[in-house]
């Protein structure tokens, strides 16, 4: 796989984890780990490719293998099998060299020194990345400007709010101007405003410097507002890989029609063919037309006949619903190896 041009190329990557079993009998109880159960397969063979400068979201329900994928691509974990290149390097073999070119942000963990101001962590990171004092100063200045850190840098990190800390966290991750950034649930736990700040900055990073973005999230807006492409994982496999726009049509057929009435209207008894009710309030009905591309004209006409319509909107289902549909699909019987494409 000579894919020096791609930011990330992954081929048949697999990873299993030993499952600690029940302790053995007799003297074997003293052995660490006990008898092993069957290993958990976190990744079945997974393959995909990300070009430089792309913004890709990796989504999927809990336990799908998103974090495992990121940990393999950053060299934190060694794979059970398969091959991967990140910026032309094999992450687990050339981890330290790769570290100069990439950044990793874990939404649930902090790399800032808790008791010190963020500025001290930056200073330490300057030496970790062998940055020139001048270069580092300019870079910190730039990040301070864009992330609005002016009043935060000199306060001990433990006194910062989660959102403020996350902005410092981003700055710490970006201090060495990485060419590729991995973000594992970067907006988890943040309020609306802080989420928007993180998204805006990640977008800007990509627009200004062409930085490749690879993020995981359960938040629909992270995907819609930051990424152009989505990879859906389900039980350790890639179930979908394509533009955000086609994600909708893959998982949710049809469109939604919402009608507002001038006066309350009784709940309908019959529905036009191909439509179903999503939500009914006396003055507002929401319907779904099942087949993508099916004409909505008859349904609109039917609604007009039901009562005095004052407003009518036809729309794609919201991204939340799309994601919910994806997660629902996996929630059924657990995928059996070889059972799904």
């Amino acid at each position: 796989m000579q894919d020096a041009g791609a930011a990330i190329s992954v081929r048949d990557l697999t990873r299993s984890f030993d499952r600690p079993g029940v302790p053995g009998a007799g003297w074997r109880r003293l052995l660490p780990g006990g008898t092993r159960g069957a290993p958990t397969v976190a990744l079945h063979p997974v393959s995909f490719r990300v070009e430089r400068g792309e913004r890709v979201a990796l989504i999927g329900p809990n336990g799908a293998g998103k974090s495992t994928t990121i940990k393999l691509l950053t060299g934190i974990l060694h794979p059970s099998g398969g091959d991967a290149r990140v910026l032309g390097r094999v992450p687990w073999r050339e981890r330290t060299d790769l570290a100069y070119d990439i950044a990793t942000v874990f939404g649930q963990k902090s790399q800032l020194w808790y008791h010190l101001p963020a500025r001290s962590t930056f200073e330490l990171l300057r030496h970790v990345y062998d940055l020139d004092a001048g270069v580092a100063r300019r870079r910190v200045g730039e990040l301070t400007e864009r992330l609005g850190l002016r009043d935060l840098l000199d306060r001990p990190v433990r006194t910062l709010s989660l959102g403020e800390r996350m902005r410092c966290e981003l700055a710490a991750a970006l201090i060495h101007s990485p060419r590729l950034v991995f973000l594992d649930e970067p907006t988890i736990g943040l309020d609306v405003e802080a989420r928007q700040a993180v998204r805006a900055h990640v977008r800007e990073l990509n627009a200004r410097q062409g930085t490749t973005i690879f993020l995981t999230s359960h938040d629909a807006a992270d995907i819609e507002q930051v990424c152009e492409r989505v990879i859906v994982m389900q039980a350790g496999r890639v179930a979908f890989d394509g533009p955000v726009s086609t994600l909708r049509s893959r998982y949710v057929r049809g469109r939604q029609i919402e009608a507002h009435f001038l006066v309350p209207v009784d709940r309908p008894v019959d529905l036009p063919p191909g439509a179903s009710l999503v939500d009914v309030e006396p003055q507002r009905w929401r319907l779904e037309v099942h087949e993508a591309g099916a004409p909505v004209g008859p349904v609109v006409a039917w609604l007009m006949a039901c009562g005095p319509v004052v407003d009518l909107t036809v729309s794609d289902p919201p991204m939340e619903d799309v994601i919910a549909a994806i997660y629902r699909e996996t929630a059924g019987p657990r995928v059996i190896p070889g059972g799904r494409p």
């Binding site: 984890f17 600690p20 934190i76 974990l77 020194w113 008791h115 010190l116 330490l124 030496h127």
Partner: protein, 260 residues
């Protein structure tokens, strides 16, 4: 060189933390000094009554104590992160260090500083200076030897903590192993039989942490000094190799950490 500067900045960051909690830090250092002082007072009273035990006098005990406490103090005072490695392997907290440049084991070792260790080191140095009344040559030898001994202790901690890569949880094993090394290092070599000594010059390297340095402070020997430097270098490289071999087995957010 760049590596040394990077290590120095870790120490600086640790000192900044200590400074931010000046009172707590000073209290811990002081508590350790008092704790150590009680021991020396005990030996002092002991030798007042029995001036020599098996040919050992108070000065020998002082040397064993001074070198031991200083070396162990330096190792945990500067490289206190070494003894946290097992817990971090089990909890998956190695992740941060793995995504940074520079060998992760270096980050880990200097990521924490134990104030008690600083207290030990200060006490050890004071004990040596005031109770052993060293000559200039002895003082220079002491300064060099405690640093070498401390690096062997750090290597030992890294190696024993790395067992966690294979055993899942090893913080207690590593702790016991360190405790064993400390215990054997605080008694004179003469007390041990040959088979025990064989162990003390290999798996539990009290010989190189304590016996050899104590002998060398009393009487310099280039041959033994060279052996000691070789052992220190070898064990540092060896422990790093063990750690790096273990990394291939690292499971990150390991659920093993949740087992009782």
């Amino acid at each position: 060189m760049a590596t040394l500067r990077f290590l120095a900045h870790y120490v600086r960051a640790n000192l900044e933390v200590a400074l931010a909690y000046r009172a707590a830090f000073a209290a811990k250092v002081f508590a350790m000094v008092v704790n150590d002082g009680i021991w020396v007072a005990f030996w002092w009273l002991f030798f007042e009554r029995f001036p020599s035990v098996e040919g050992y006098g108070f000065r020998q005990i002082v040397l064993v104590w001074a070198i031991g406490t200083t070396a162990f103090g330096l190792s945990s005072g500067i490289a206190g992160g070494a003894s946290t490695i097992a817990a971090k392997i089990a909890s998956g907290d190695l992740d941060f260090y793995l995504v940074l440049p520079k060998p992760p084991v270096l980050h880990l070792v200097v990521s924490r500083m134990d104030p008690g260790g600083i207290g030990d080191a200060l006490f050890g140095i004071a004990t040596f200076a005031f109770l052993a009344r060293p000559s200039a040559r002895e003082a220079v030898a002491f300064a060099i030897l405690v640093v070498i001994a401390a690096s062997i202790i750090v290597a030992y901690a890294v190696a024993t903590n790395s067992i966690a890569f294979w055993a899942g949880r090893a913080d207690t094993i590593a702790e016991q192993a360190m405790f064993g090394l400390i215990t054997f290092s605080t008694y004179p070599e003469r007390l041990f039989s040959t088979p025990v000594k064989a162990v003390l010059y290999t798996v539990v390297p009290a010989g190189f942490v304590s016996f050899v340095p104590v002998a060398l402070v009393q009487e310099w020997d280039w041959g033994w000094a060279a052996v000691l430097v070789g052992v220190a270098g070898g064990s540092l490289l060896g422990s790093k190799a063990i750690f790096d071999a273990g990394l291939r087995r690292y499971a990150s957010g390991s659920i093993l950490a949740m087992r009782g």
